[in-house]
């Protein structure tokens, strides 16, 4: 959405994920990039080169934080030590909003380091929403939750994924990081209509959109972030933008990472969908 409370009243355009193989290019060529998304956990350290690099990036670019380990959907309490370290980073970057995933991944302090799928139950929605609210209050920055790619569904689920997403974000009163590639991947893995999913998302809460590539196997699709975005995902992106209006968009490319120019060019394909809406 254009500037709203869910994106910290900003109007960011197309960004790129900040990745180590691109550091040299970024510092030597200083490319024009609207914003960079960083993985928060990579910079939640006490010192050294990671923070020096981040500070250099912050001198020139706008940065938005994206996390992979808050695990709002885990049945255990939020990790206060984690939150304190995250808040230190939030103050350093000045991120206008902060995102993490609508998933779980830890039990009794043991971590999977994966984005595990939620059972879509009212119990899970209540707990997840409560934790998002707690984190949002503590961090003092708007939180957007991202729909994940999934490969399994649970017998105990009481609703669809998009109904669960709505239930959580309404209860938490938070934003959404809408990953259209994840919708596509999950729709193929679970045989649902991705357009129905998109139509059900509360557009006014979408703070950011993710696009990415994936890998197709014989019996399922894996969210690998190692390919260009395929046409059906661009089609979903176009539909999403039509509903949400101009929205901060980011391309994820995490494995077999090509040159910065290639990643940036792939990301900027999104711009052809954005301006039309700005003038509309």
């Amino acid at each position: 959405m254009p500037a709203t409370r869910f994106n910290g009243f900003t109007d960011y355009g197309v960004g790129v994920g900040l990745r180590i193989p691109h550091y040299a290019h970024i510092f030597s060529h200083k490319p024009v990039v609207d914003w960079f998304e960083i993985i928060s956990e990579n910079f939640m350290v006490d010192g050294g080169r990671p923070l020096a690099i981040l500070d250099q990036i912050l001198e020139r670019y706008r940065v938005v934080q994206h996390g992979v380990s808050m695990y709002f959907g885990s049945a255990e309490k939020l990790n206060r030590t984690h939150l304190r370290r995250l808040k230190t980073l939030v103050r350093r970057t000045g991120t206008p909003w902060l995102s993490d995933h609508l998933c779980w991944g830890s039990v009794d302090g043991s971590y999977s380091h994966d984005l595990l799928p939620m059972p879509y139950t009212f119990e899970a929605a209540r707990l997840t929403a409560r934790k998002i609210r707690e984190a949002q209050d503590f961090l003092e920055v708007p939180i957007a939750v991202e729909n994940v790619s999934s490969y399994a569904e649970f017998h105990v689920s009481e609703m669809t994924e998009w109904e669960f997403l709505n239930e959580v974000v309404e209860r938490a009163d938070c934003g959404i990081l809408l990953d259209v590639n994840n919708i596509y991947v999950s729709s193929r893995n679970h045989s649902f209509d991705p357009h129905l999913y998109l139509d059900s998302v509360p557009a006014n809460r979408v703070a950011q959109i993710h696009i990415a590539g994936h890998s197709t196997f014989e019996k399922y699709i894996l969210d690998t972030h190692d390919h260009p975005v395929i046409d059906p995902v661009w089609a979903l992106y176009e539909k999403a933008i039509t509903r949400t209006g101009h929205t901060a968009t980011l391309l994820e490319w995490d494995q077999h990472i090509p040159s910065f120019e290639e990643v940036h060019a792939e990301a900027r394909k999104a711009e052809k969908y954005l301006p039309a809406l700005v003038s509309a």
Binding site: E41, G48, H82, V107, Y111, L116, Y151, A152, Y220
Partner: protein, 258 residues
Amino acid sequence: MKLAELQRRMLADIMLPRTPGTAGYIKPNDRLTAGERLEIYHRQYWSRLVDSLRDDFPGLLKLLGPRSFQKLALAYLTEYPSRSFTLRDLGQSLPGWLARHPEYVGPALDMVQLEWAHIETWDAAASQPLGPEDLAAFTPDLPLALQPHLRLLKLSYPVDDVRLGTLSARAVKKRLPGTLYLATHRVDGDVFYRRLEEGEFRLLHRLAKGYPLLRALRGLHARPEDLQRWFAAWAELGWLTGTSARSPGQRKTAPSSP
């Protein structure tokens, strides 16, 4: 099934070192059984964590070879699943685990100690080093703090040379154990290793424990010219700081065994 119970069962299945069998809580679809769907997550878990250890301990991989490394990683991670939100901490219990497994003592244990120290040095905090004026005003009854990124190691094999590529894994395994003292430290964001003399190591170790200089020197029998040389080198490397850089919530910086 309640959320907590479902998550506990699924994570336990994912963390099994062997392929999990049935998964009654997962719905099959027209292409995959419940077990096959769970197996996607199981495979991703082990691949991600073993890859992470491989990235963090390249010297150990070199010493053991891929097959033994994989076996070690599976055994270690089964006993010590990740207890941290960041994969950076995944190997923190590996030195202790290795020490309890006699088949890995020797260069492998030394290498793991070095590589864990390397990780800690890489992203530890840094303090403002003491300048010449600070050192001139220093009195020996005051505690001298060391850079939080400095780690001190007492080793039996020159595994630093293996890590740096100047000694082969095969050659180090043929060496008889001796004693060598090493510091890992950081300059301009890069991690370096520096061999230490025994007295230098012992003095640094005591300073790292917070001893005032006079107490740290007690019983050390260091020659004045050695002390002068050591302090000059430490000052040049920026290892001496006036106060502890530790802040609330920051990881404790500790030396290794004396």
